[in-house]
């Protein structure tokens, strides 16, 4: 939207296999959020190609991007971004509403995902009645509910204390173990170490890309 454009990413080339848990690290301004936004089809790259599940993502108009986001991607944000007047259950069922799944069915699915993040008893609560960790778990349940191919988490633990952060990472690891591909943008090393691979960005280029030995979050909880 800004009138002055800035070249943030300067040539990024990498592949992520199905089932990976990748941390994208870097200090602020390194381009990690921009990368995630492009992957999330919230933003578009000036050039280059992006292939998701063998489908080239290009020439997106808003409607097409919305449909792809709905089908392929689940988002987890630093500031949770739950709709504050909707209950936890309604928040989780919202992506399903845009998939035009009938009401009863989508509530059943939403409840199932809330249960999987341990918040079944909180289904009727509003976000304002939940703690930060609970909100993020609702957000994760919401991201999962549409059964996306990839889960994109932008600083998922940024607004949480250490203990809660580890709980959330524990949840993310569990989801990954069930086979979901997950990208986590973070600038915290301990969080990054809980992933299976770290891609380090600096000034718009990848300076390091390595597989690591995953630290299990459950050991810290």
């Amino acid at each position: 939207m800004g009138s002055s454009s800035l070249h943030v990413l300067k040539g990024i080339n990498f592949n992520i296999q199905e089932g990976e848990l990748v941390a994208i690290m870097g200090s602020s301004g390194s381009g990690k959020s921009t990368l995630l936004n492009i992957l999330g089809m919230l933003d578009v790259a000036d050039e280059g190609e992006y292939i998701l599940d063998d489908i080239p993502i290009k020439n997106l108009n808003e409607t097409k991007a919305a449909n792809y986001r709905n089908k392929f991607l689940g988002f987890v944000f630093q500031s949770f971004n739950l709709i504050n007047y909707k209950s936890a259950l309604e928040n989780v069922s919202l992506p399903l509403y845009y998939q035009k799944i009938p009401r009863k069915e989508r509530q059943a699915i939403a409840l199932h995902y809330l249960e999987s993040v341990g918040l079944k008893d909180w289904a009727t609560h509003l976000p304002s009645e939940l703690s930060g960790g609970q909100k993020q778990r609702v957000a994760i349940a919401r991201a999962m509910a549409s059964r996306p191919k990839v889960l994109l988490a932008d600083e998922p633990t940024g607004a949480l204390d250490t203990k809660t952060s580890y709980e959330v990472m524990d949840l993310i690891q569990k989801i990954n173990q069930e086979g979901k591909t997950i990208l986590v943008v973070t600038h915290e090393l301990d969080i990054a170490k809980m992933c299976k691979r770290i891609v380090q960005l600096k000034d718009g280029v990848i300076i390091k890309d390595e597989n690591i030995n995953q630290v299990l979050a459950s050991e810290h909880v």
Binding site: M1, T63, N67, R69, K71, N81, L82, P95, Y98, R103
Partner: protein, 409 residues
């Protein structure tokens, strides 16, 4: 358009954002309410005005016989002129294009009695067309008709106040009253907006009056209504021609100022009508102004509502809402709210107007009203502009990239 799931979503949103719903609804309801009240009061003012000036039909010419003041064609001056039945026939025959109704009016006063009640009233012996001349409104029964004329029946149509004086709470229809020496059957009761005096008249067939008065053929005044389409100029021309015709027929000196008097209310009417038009313009202007103020109010609220929802819309888009579905949601919600509250405002406004009725008569506002067409049109305009006012920011919000909307913290 109808999608149950979408409606449920909208109802949930409305139910959980009561302040926002209230604000936009209140603006619309208030706008419509004020529009209806002001427009209605303006109409009330017009009512009073019309009552003052426009009681009787405005397209009427009164012919009144008098006495000549000049000798002419061998007749002496100071001769009394009289109208007869044939004069009416002649008018109908000679001026068919200029006459709607022609009626005589023979005015007599009479002592009227029913049981133990009696009083003196003015009787007018007339033809059926007289009803349209005086804009007589029948409350009960019927007016004098052609059969009454042909059979010279002793039927009478009495004013509301005559009925009240003589019959109290009794139903006068079918009862007999004594009119002078003759018994008349009451066949109708009328009211008239011209005031109390007008409601103390009694109408009878003019042929009956002639029969009572020794079967003569005198008819007193002649009253003619002309088609409004001939306009002011046409009316004046008609009046002149008529005068000339009768002066010739009755052998009156064309220069004689007396002999025949013709009264044509169109002369005064032109001034009063331009005043009425002025009033109408003011009323319309007030209405239009209120409506514009309402539209501006709605637009502001809609801009505010969409602004407030920017983040929510960003979230929805990140979760897969298409721009179309975002716009649709905002519009459907706003149109729903404005429609409901618009009709609440409409309803309340009409109720208030109904209740005012005659209470503001001393301020020259009588029976304020608004016709349903105008009020519904105003409501629809407000809803329409509310939708347009909502569409523009909704369109913009829907095209903002979700990432920008979400950053807006």
């Amino acid at each position: 358009m109808f999608n149950k799931d979408r409606w449920i979503e909208i109802f949930e949103t409305i139910g959980k954002n009561k302040l926002r719903t209230f604000l936009s609804g209140f603006t619309v309801a208030l706008g419509i309410f004020i529009f209806i009240i002001l427009f209605g009061l303006g109409n009330g003012l017009k009512n009073t005005f019309q009552e003052f000036f426009l009681d009787d039909a405005s397209n009427v010419i009164y012919l009144q016989p008098g006495k000549t003041s000049m000798p002419y064609k061998g007749f002496k001056s100071n001769r009394e002129i009289e109208f007869k039945n044939e004069d009416m026939e002649d008018i109908k025959e000679n001026f068919p294009m200029f006459t709607e109704y022609v009626t005589p009016r023979i005015t007599r006063s009479a002592l009227v009695r029913y049981k133990n009640e009696n009083n003196s009233y003015t009787t007018r012996a007339v033809a059926p067309g007289h009803q349209f001349v005086e804009k007589t409104i029948l409350m009960k029964g019927r007016y004098i008709n052609q059969i009454d004329l042909d059979k010279k029946t002793k039927n009478a149509v009495i004013g509301r106040l005559v009925a009240k004086d003589l019959f109290k709470s009794e139903d006068p229809i079918g009862k007999y009253i004594n009119l002078g020496e003759t018994a008349f059957k009451v066949i109708g009761v009328f009211q008239d907006d011209g005031g109390d005096n007008e409601e103390r008249f009694i109408f009878i067939p003019y042929t009956t009056r002639q029969l009572i008065e020794k079967n003569n053929d005198k008819i007193g005044q002649i009253i003619i209504t002309f088609p409004k389409e001939i306009g002011h100029v046409g009316a004046i021309a008609f009046e002149k021609t008529l005068k000339k015709y009768f002066k010739n027929k009755k052998s009156i000196d064309p220069e004689d100022p007396n002999g025949i008097f013709i009264r044509n209310p169109t002369d005064n009417l032109r001034d009063t009508q331009s005043f009425a038009i002025g009033l109408q313009i003011i009323v319309s202007f007030v209405g239009l102004g209120t409506l514009i103020a309402g539209i501006i109010g709605i637009s502001n609220i809609m801009v505010f509502v969409v602004k407030e929802r920017t983040k929510e819309l960003g979230i929805r888009k990140a979760l897969g809402a298409t721009p179309k579905s975002v716009i649709q949601m905002i519009l459907q919600e706003s149109v729903f709210i404005t429609t409901i509250s618009g009709y609440i405002g409409l309803f309340l406004g009409i109720i208030v107007l109904e209740n005012i009725g005659l209470k503001l008569e001393e301020y020259f506002i009588k029976n304020p009203y608004i016709d349903l067409g105008t009020s519904i049109a105003a409501t629809i305009i407000l809803i329409l502009f509310g939708a347009i006012a909502g569409y523009i920011p909704a369109k913009r919000a829907s095209s903002i990239k979700p990432i920008v909307a979400l950053r807006d913290e």
